[in-house]
Amino acid sequence: MKSPTTLGEFEQVVLLAILRLEKDAYGVTIRAEIAKCTGREPAPGALYTTLDRMEEKGIVRSWLGEATPQRGGRAKRYFALTKAGLTALVSAQRAYQSLLDGLDLLGGIHAYCFNC
């Protein structure tokens, strides 16, 4: 069985944003979703090169949607995870989960600050 693709941190963030947005995942909404959830706005250059790279790897698939007057008649490019992308993301999240088992990081830093 082929091992899932290894994902970088930002790639996982982008994939999770795409999953959350379901059928409305394009550049603007992906960027806004990441900013809303992480508190940091990704640079457009970093976002689009990551999306292109993930499409080359076969992790995401894109298609052109409708053009709007707001965009000067330019079509939106929507993204969705492929089966391989979902597999890679689940694998990465399982790895995080197994490392998090037994820890209660969401309880705050004080639980693990031995010298505070």
Partner: protein
């Protein structure tokens, strides 16, 4: 809108028309909140992000190929070479290894910068580079030579019987062969041009009196590495497109 059209024209220089249009459309949507300065900084950022890898990879490949060719030549044919292989029949074999080895170093570095070290084709290229380099520098050690030949035969066998590896090995093979053959012809043409300029041995004084030779060789080498790295990029893109992974369809296929 002139601003958006200009930005789209700029982005079309570095990516496809459809992608450029969709990126500019996204930036136009956000520009209403962020302003014109942010729009142009973002365009500049996107252009830089899309193009920086390729020229950097090409320059690194060029210098890696040039320096390793020189190094390999010195190791085998240099005046101070400690272990020269027998003239016949091994010198022609090592000549081929020198050309192939320097091209392997060049395309390995190109692929590592352009596609990352986790790319399978890059890893295959690095494996072959290590083997060829080991043979060139340590051919006189029977154990090393035996291990390298065994490893090479193993890689070739696995590549033949595994369809995916076969395609990945083909990318490496085609790029290296193109680069090596062109490099060989550059050497031949440089020799002919040198003979045309001035017959007899050349020293530092002759090189200074005829600087055109260096420039001609430099330009031909640039073309050689451009051909080799372009072959790599095109075949790599073919390989990626050929690897159909998803069976689900979310919508229309991307352009």
């Amino acid at each position: 809108m002139l601003t958006a059209s200009t930005a789209e024209w700029i982005l079309c220089r570095v990516t496809s028309h459809e992608r450029a249009a969709s990126i500019v459309g996204d930036l136009v949507e956000i520009e209403e909140q962020k302003g014109l300065l942010w729009f142009w900084l973002s365009v500049a950022g996107v252009v830089f992000s899309l193009v920086w890898r390729q020229p950097l990879a090409f320059v690194a490949a060029f210098y890696a190929g040039a320096w390793t060719f020189f190094g390999f030549q010195m190791a085998i044919m240099g005046i101070n070479a400690q272990h020269r292989p027998p003239e016949y029949p091994w010198m022609p074999v090592f000549t081929v290894l020198i050309f192939a080895g320097s091209m392997l170093c060049a395309v390995s570095l190109y692929a590592a910068i352009r596609y990352g070290v986790q790319d399978k084709v890059t890893q295959i290229a690095f494996a072959w580079t290590s083997l060829v380099t080991s043979v060139i520098y340590l051919w006189w050690q029977p154990v090393v030579l035996g291990l390298c030949i065994t490893a090479a035969l193993l890689i070739v066998s696995v590549s033949i019987f595994n369809s995916k590896l076969r395609k990945e090995a083909l990318v490496v093979l085609v790029s290296v062969v193109i680069g090596s053959v062109l490099r060989f012809f550059v050497g031949l043409l440089a020799g002919l041009y040198q003979h045309f300029l001035l017959r007899g041995p050349w020293g530092t004084r002759e090189m200074q009196e005829h600087p055109s030779l260096e420039w001609v060789v430099f330009c031909m080498l640039i073309l050689t590495f451009w051909a080799s790295t372009s072959a790599w990029s095109r075949m790599h893109n073919w390989l990626m497109r050929d690897q159909a992974i998803d069976t689900e369809s979310e919508g229309k296929p991307a352009v």
